[in-house]
Amino acid sequence: MTQQLSSKPFYGQRIEVRSVPDPIVKDCFAVFACRHKFCREVCPVYQDDRDESHTSYGFHSTLLAISQGIGSLEDVRDQVTNCLECGACELRCPNTLFAGDFYGASTTTVDLVRKVRRDLVAADIGFEKYEAIIEVIDKYLSYFTGPEEDLTRWAEGLNLPFTGETILFVDYFNAFETTVVARNAAKILSAAGVSYGILRHPGATLGELLDVDLDAFVEHARYNVNELVTAGAKRVILINPHDYTYFTRDYTAYLGELPFEVVYVTDVIDELITSGAITFEGASPLSGNVSYHDPCTLNKICGITESPRRIIRSLPGLNFVDVSPVAQWSYCCGKGSSSFKVLHPDTSYRIGARRLQAAADVGAERLVLACPHCEDQLTDVRARSGAPVEPIHVLALVAQAMGLE
């Protein structure tokens, strides 16, 4: 399971309009003092707008400046939205590289951005397009309070139980927007002989909620853990990598050690292929050149990079043109962890178009994905741009290779 090297409880201290708590001043100074700004060229937003204000260095420096009487929290209403929360800057920061383990002082920009967004809300300042984020939250929370049967409609005809030692946790995005991802996951697990269930009434797992209402996020986290325990879960399979970060980093930070194992679906399928439970004999072989897009949350935040690649290599008939996970630190689909696309649709589109072009540049005809948000975003970008690369979820390829369609 992913470990967070640097957990900073002092992020719980509020930044006021014109004052910054001392531990946060020091935290920001540690980035400002580096001054080498390796966080810059790796940032997908910076690659697009070339504005150093929208980098980890810029963000930490802004807060340090506020602590020195220059500007106020109100000034960051725009700046705080120009972050995909992808984590590239954290990995590229010399503090993380050289001070992460020994000093427990990794740079934690994503947590800080979320924290400042919450502080802006708490100070009744809000941030640019805050209302649009509230609309997103309201939409998804309405699923929680709406008809219970809607939450599992994606699984119609699959005859899945609501209990089990293994639970396939399906978030609202997969349950309502990218249902084929959830159905493919379920079909593959069933065909491999895995005994599992699903939750009848899962709670919300929203990055937007983490950004503006921590109490509500934790309330849903506690609810989800209780539901999973009640359902008998000893192992929970996630199919949204954003959820994987919440379960492994945020749930554990706010609720302590979880009473069950949390695994990502690609790790599970990789195990099933290795054990022989999944085979690709008999079905029509696949074909063509494919590359793989590392979802930011899996690659940059959780370090899951190998299982999707092993799965792709095991699929018959494909020519896999790989781009290393480190080279992909500077890539993103453009959608972000918390409605970046809602906040900055044009930037989001250009980042996505750049990603598809990078895939085309290595000769890929299809770009394999392991995240429903990436699939949703890049499918949209392809439709708008006419890019010659087709985005496709790895579960769709596995299901196809198994002859499950």
């Binding site: 001043v25 020091k26 100074f29 540690a30 003092a33 580096c34 001054r35 080498h36 700004k37 390796f38 810059r40 060229e41 070339r50 504005d51 150093e52 204000s53 260095y57 810029g58 420096s61 802004t62 340090l64 400046a65 020195q68 009487g69 220059i70 500007g71 106020s72 000034d75 960051v76 700046q79 590229r92 010399p94 503090n95 590289l97 050289f98 001070a99 383990d101 020994f102 000093y103 002082a105």
Partner: protein, 508 residues
């Protein structure tokens, strides 16, 4: 020193800039200005208000830059060009407020001519990103400073940068073929070897290109660069050797430098206190036994056959010097981490405890023969400062790198690293720091060296030594005449290099 300048024409300039460049690229919010009020040099956090620019403008084209310069002249508001802000001489730090011109939007590759081995780019492109684009052609732009992952070429030219592999491939001044520059009065000129864009050696006219390299933004803004490409090296071979006494490292450096091996692209020394520092808390450094009191690193680039031929000669020379090879893992690991080996705030110590400190370096150019004497005096100065202010300063040891372009002998970029506690700085302690910086710079000059090998001699504490001691034989006087000739309104980065003196007596 900075002064709190007030510019009467500021509002008019902002209005004109918004009209000409577009409001979204004219930034007046405090955070945009605060972020661009420092470079990478030690920064008095307590003095932050003094270096805040009035606004930031982000041009997207040469035409934008021309317009900005003309508006600045019209309203008599100063301009401070800014590249990556990675310079260690405060070149991009505004001393008279005004307009910071952030060039990073201008980052296109305009032409790759691999027949004639040139690439033409805009000034805001980063070298690492450029080399990613060049890689499929099996060529590279061999500029490799420690700031390689972040620096941009406009800033490299503005500071006259140095490269880790300059002993093999030359430094920035050697690898810029020609440039388009917007002058302080808004004219566009091309400077090169003669007037041609892609000619490396010509005897036509004055050698004007040199004037527009290393001027710290006082003479114009580069808007296009034609650069000299090199074939990508087939192999790279780093080898690091430990010694029992730093003087053995010093001597080995000269032996290797004079060996005649053309594949040697750089040689580096770590002194005994640098080894101690790295041993103390740098996780990239594999722990070394106590007997190690210095190290020499050498990097070879080239075709596999020539590098393989050089290896046994290098090992023999090192063995004769009594040096011990540190092994492939450490050699390759250290070379691979060369860009990341920055000294973190967490590396600061006071009384054995962590004290957050920013990194400061002195980057003087010193002749090989003078290194022991300069080293001894520098440590006396630094140790005295730490003894007086143990909570505010820490000595982090010295590196010495080959400095001569295309030749690994002669002078060395000599780097004294220190930690400085900027967050708890006071005016009195800052004054002591400046005094120590002055003495360090003066020591280099008195030993026949230069205040700066790569970043510029413009920092507070060093600038007077640069202008009045190192450049005393008429150069500073000529600089002032040129400045006044090219920049009659003192628009470009006023205050830098004491060039305000060129305008003394003017009614302004």
């Amino acid at each position: 020193m900075t002064t709190t300048a007030v510019h009467a024409g500021l509002e008019g300039a902002i209005a004109d800039l918004r009209q000409s460049i577009g409001s979204e690229f004219v930034l007046t919010e405090p955070y945009h200005r605060a972020i661009r009020s420092s470079s990478a040099a030690p920064f008095g956090v307590h003095l932050w208000q003094d270096t805040l620019p009035d606004l930031v403008v982000r041009p997207g084209s040469t035409a934008d830059v021309i317009e900005i310069v003309r508006i600045a002249n019209r309203w008599k508001v100063p301009i401070v060009p800014r590249g990556a802000g990675a310079g260690l001489a405060d070149g991009a730090m505004p001393l008279r407020r005004g307009i910071v011109v952030d060039i990073k939007r201008m980052h296109d590759v305009l032409e790759i001519d691999d027949d004639n081995m040139t690439v033409t780019v805009q000034p805001g492109i980063n070298m690492m990103e450029l080399n990613k684009i060049l890689r499929p052609l099996n060529v590279w732009f061999p500029d490799d400073p420690a700031s390689y992952p972040v620096n941009v070429l406009g800033g490299r030219v503005g500071t006259g940068g140095w490269s880790l592999v300059g002993a093999g491939y030359g430094h920035i001044p050697n690898n810029v073929v020609s440039m388009e520059v917007v002058t302080p009065t808004g004219e566009v000129i091309r400077v090169g070897e003669g007037g041609a864009r892609k000619i490396r050696k010509a005897s036509t006219g004055y050698r004007m290109k040199e004037l527009f390299i290393g001027h710290q933004g006082t003479l114009g803004i580069v808007t296009e660069l034609t650069l000299d490409l090199s074939p990508r090296p087939e192999v790279e071979f780093p080898a690091f050797f430990a010694v029992r006494d730093w003087r053995d490292s010093w001597r080995l450096t000269q032996t290797l430098g004079k060996s005649g091996l053309k594949t040697i692209s750089g040689i580096f020394q770590f002194d005994e206190r640098k080894v101690d520092f790295l041993r103390r808390d740098d996780e990239a450094w594999i722990p070394l036994p106590d007997w190690v009191q210095g190290a020499t690193g050498v990097i070879c680039y080239g075709r596999e056959a020539e590098v393989n031929a050089a290896k046994p000669i290098i090992f023999d020379l090192a063995k004769e010097a009594g040096a011990t090879y540190l092994g492939q893992e450490m050699s390759e690991g250290d070379w691979a981490s060369r860009h990341d080996r920055y000294h973190l705030a967490y590396h600061g110590r006071s009384g054995g405890k962590i004290k957050l400190m920013a990194w400061s370096i002195d980057d003087c150019a010193v002749q090989w023969s003078e290194l022991p004497a300069v080293k001894k005096r520098w440590y006396e100065i630094a140790d005295a400062l730490v003894a007086k202010h143990p909570e505010h300063f820490d000595v982090w040891g010295m590196f010495m790198y080959t400095n001569n372009p295309f030749r690994p002998w002669g002078d060395h970029l000599t780097e004294l690293d220190m930690g400085i506690n900027e967050l708890e700085m006071t005016p009195e302690i800052w004054a002591d720091w400046i005094e120590a910086k002055t003495e360090i710079a003066r020591t280099a000059v008195r030993h026949g060296g230069s205040v700066s090998a790569c970043h510029g001699g413009t920092r507070e504490g060093e600038v007077n030594v640069s202008c009045y001691e190192e450049l005393a034989e008429g150069q500073f006087e000529l600089m002032k005449k040129l400045k006044r000739l090219l920049d009659p309104e003192n628009i470009m980065n006023p205050g830098k290099y004491n060039l305000d003196e060129a305008y003394e007596g003017d009614a302004r």
